[in-house]
Symmetry: C2
Subunit: 338 residues, 2 copies
């Protein structure tokens, strides 16, 4: 019997009383179980509709052991690529009836309570995009059998990941700069030990070498605006100045351009600057940055695919996907004459 508690939302039991059938029939009808006859199913659906019934995710999770919640861990917001990724992730996840729950969004170490949340809410999986935090998070997920996919980051030993093809992207940059007649290329590196940084750098270096060019200098930029800004002074005080600067991500390129302009350097007349990521600001007038666009939508979809499969079939072998980027030519770098 439905208890008809004052202000409570309707449950399967409310519907079952209304329809004169058992709760199991209601449950099955609502989930389109073929065993329930069509007319009953429709009758039940109509009642549910009329009552404004919504299933109770917690109760369902309790029995199915699936919550539909995916944890999200990222490093600092200082790189605008990550908010962009998160927005895409939330939207794409919604289309698969998955919800994203951000567990951690700062540069601080992963707090114990964030990890507890992952377990307490019985999340179905986890997506992580931070270079610094990935090892710790990977261990925790593995220990608790929570499927994990790293995005924009490849795992040290094993684990799933989807990433832009950073090496190929770096090559595109290197080739583009060489074709543009640049002879003295400098590279600004990002987070030390991050695969994204080193792969992009390696790709660019190789393409440069193929064009008979040595990399003039490699300096640290720490994947921050300030790091790029300071790198400008460092590079411009070199005995031999670069004629092209590849910052391995856009955020450093913005700092670099601002730093150079502060020194009176003209872009791209005196030096070309290129980045990697194609965040929103890259197309802003102040920068109009030549960069490699990461296929964020595809990356997110692929990551959710991987997660989905491992939620369904735990223990599936790890997998790594590299998706190609797209060179966006803008005005921050000299191009080859057409």
């Amino acid at each position: 019997m439905a208890r008809e508690q004052a202000g409570r939302r309707p449950t399967v039991e409310t519907i079952s009383a209304e329809a004169g059938v058992s709760v199991s029939t209601v449950s099955r009808a609502l989930r389109n179980d073929p065993r329930i006859s069509a007319e009953r199913r429709e009758a039940i659906a109509a009642i549910a509709q009329r009552l404004g019934y919504t299933p109770h995710a917690n109760a369902r999770a309790l029995v199915t052991r699936r919550t539909g919640i995916v944890g999200f861990v990222t490093g600092s917001r200082s790189n605008p690529f990550y908010p962009q990724l998160l927005e895409t992730l939330v939207e794409r996840a919604r289309l698969r009836a998955l919800r994203i729950m951000p567990l951690h969004m700062s540069r601080d170490p992963l707090s114990e309570s964030s990890i507890q949340a992952l377990l307490q809410y019985q999340m179905d999986g986890c997506i992580i995009t931070s270079a610094e935090l990935s090892s710790r998070a990977a261990d925790i997920c593995q220990a608790n059998e929570v499927p994990l996919v790293m995005v924009n980051r490849v795992p040290r030993l094993h684990g799933c990941a989807v990433s832009c093809n950073n090496f190929a992207g770096g090559e595109m940059i290197g080739a583009f700069l060489a074709a543009g007649g640049h002879r003295r290329i400098a590279i600004v590196l990002g987070t030390p030990n991050a695969s994204t940084s080193s792969e992009r750098e390696a790709g660019a270096s190789q393409a440069a070498a193929r064009a008979g060019l040595e990399i003039l200098a490699r300096v640290a930029g720490h994947s921050t605006y300030a790091g790029g800004f300071e790198a400008a002074s460092v590079l411009w005080s070199l005995p031999e100045r670069p004629d092209a600067i590849f910052c391995v991500n856009d955020i450093m390129a913005f700092g670099m351009m601002d730093g150079l302009r502060r020194l009176g350097v003209r872009i791209p007349e005196d030096v070309s600057v290129v980045g990697f990521d194609d965040v929103d600001q890259a197309s802003w007038g102040a920068y109009d940055l030549t960069t490699v666009a990461q296929p964020v939508g595809d990356m997110v979809d692929r990551a959710l695919d991987m997660l989905d499969m491992r939620i369904r079939r735990p223990g599936l072998a790890p997998e790594i996907a590299y998706l190609g980027g797209l060179l966006k030519v803008r005005s921050s770098a000299r191009s080859a004459p057409a």
Copy 2:
């Protein structure tokens, strides 16, 4: 009896078997119920610790009717203020054992499935920061008795909100510009009908009037970079050009500055530009924008306070809090001589 199912996490029952007490005693001990004797409590805590026990949030939510999840709805990420707000929110919520779940993060209308999520997961409350979506969301929350707090936005009729004191902030800007000797102030408006935009504009207008100044022009900027960029041409082609431009948020100020520079205008020599929000980019070298900093941390805490109270005591009267902003003087605007 504990079933000791293969790979399952320990539950209260596992612990109760181990400790030789009932599950209710375990539950109470873990929640520090004073009725349980100290030594038992410690013994149980020790076992829980040893087993790596973590309570199951869904099961708890089922009976307590509290999930600890707070929904988050925002408009487009194009204004970097919102990612910044979200990061703060996630961190501050964590300190109160609350989790944030982003339901919607794009400019599109609120989808039905996002609303469903709010109800299915039985969220304890909702925080919304989008001007466009707030009416719809407010209706839904009210209909379902979900506490709602609007941040950076005041409600049309009733409801909770916490916002920067936009009017006072606008006044600070207006007074600052007047003191700096500016005579022809233009204002770039944001999202039409948004309270943030109109209040900031009103504050600035009033302060200007107090200094004997009329506002030269008011133009639309739509709260986007591109809107600010285009507004630059509009303002600069006016018969009488402004000597100060107040963009009601930073993102438009960036577009404005880039647009002006494209026209060869020098900042602040030819015209001063000021913004509102103090997002990260405002302190970047390219802009170094004079603006009003919103007290994001305090705003978030206050919003969570409001939510907390209404979760505990449903039906509490609506409340609106205005928190003061802080003028950040940088180099994008001429100051009064010292």
